[in-house]
Symmetry: C2
Subunit: 193 residues, 2 copies
DNA sequence: GTCTATAACGGGATAGAC
DNA sequence: GTCTATCCCGTTATAGAC
């Protein structure tokens, strides 16, 4: 763990969060990680390789902090867990902001860089399925297609709100409130009638 | 109108939609517009000048096609108009794709370029208010705060879905279906109970 | 206003020593 | 594995003719 390699990826996440994928300079990344540019190319082949691995890294990290929970803490109900998972990405902490910014950048870059699309699509799918599963725990009677659609909307909504937050359009508290009410609305839509 | 200048801006919108803000090459823009690079620098000073004017141009144009409606056509009901406005940005036509891609690029760029934020925030506000007004026509009894929140969520959802569509995550038909059901869900949430 | 030609530069990528 | 040095190409930007 915490290998040299990881250190470069952590630095890459920081640089991307600060400058964007577009603004990432390999030289700046090298300085941030405290290594040479040569080493970076040794590990990641080229610029695209850096990006791809960073995407994967960010992903794993998000999963980790999403699933990390104090084993001593009282177990959450499915509804609380759902809120937790979706609201975790809207926090004004260094790490979360970094992850959100990098994720948004990678999404935006994928529009013009097919090399990133596959990884991105896979990561998105995993995430959507996780949310769908949680929704299913709160609404056990809801059909799978409806759960899937609600999960896709909620995750897309989160990405949209996240971009607005990061680009200064809305404050973090307001973004969180909108996300919370969005969850409520979707749950209401999945209710038995 | 349709001056030489406008022709360059139209070309710039096309190139940005194709290559992204970061992928815009002045030479490619020149070829696309059928002029020389020198002329572009003559008009816009530098790369940043090109970008700034193009983003302004795109903005104006989106406003225009959103509000344009054939005066001969039968008037739409508020619900249809609402769907129209929100689904208009999810179409596989050249022009819409171009505007959506450019808008997404603008949003993503604003995260790292404070100079773009003000324009973006203003444009977003106008759009949110327009959607809120339409929601209010469909649900006249709903309180203004709820309408505003629903409008913010729907527009954010649209941006999120648009990015997924453009980055190849979902097909256009699926994106449209998700948007439609999202509208239904919000309208249900605004219903009197 | 518009072009052609070219200067100047940034940054991605590689070679080769250690 | 890691570094230093450097090549080299693509791009921005400018000079100057028309």
């Amino acid at each position: 763990m915490a290998s040299r390699n990881t250190r470069i990826l952590e630095a890459a996440a920081r640089v991307i969060a600060r400058r964007g994928v577009r603004g990432l300079r390999v030289e700046e990344l090298a300085a941030e990680a405290g290594v040479s540019t040569g080493l970076i190319y040794y590990h990641f082949k080229d610029r695209t390789g850096i990006l791809r691995h960073t995407l994967e890294f960010i992903n794993d990290r998000a999963e980790r902090y999403t699933n990390a929970r104090d084993p001593e803490a009282p177990p959450l109900g499915p509804r609380e867990e759902l809120q937790q998972v979706l609201l975790l990405e809207l926090q004004d902490s260094e790490e979360v902001r970094e992850n959100s910014a990098a994720w948004g950048e990678l999404r935006a870059s994928a529009v013009f860089d097919p090399a990133l699309r596959e990884d991105l699509a896979r990561a998105t799918l995993v995430w959507v399925q996780e949310v769908a599963a949680l929704l299913g725990q709160v609404r056990p009677m809801a059909p799978a297609v409806k759960l899937a659609a609600a999960a896709e909307r909620l995750t897309a909504l989160l990405e949209g709100l996240s971009m607005r937050w990061l680009s200064g359009g809305v404050g973090i508290d307001h973004a969180r409130a909108l996300m919370e009410s969005g969850i409520e609305a979707e749950l209401a839509g999945l209710e038995q009638r």
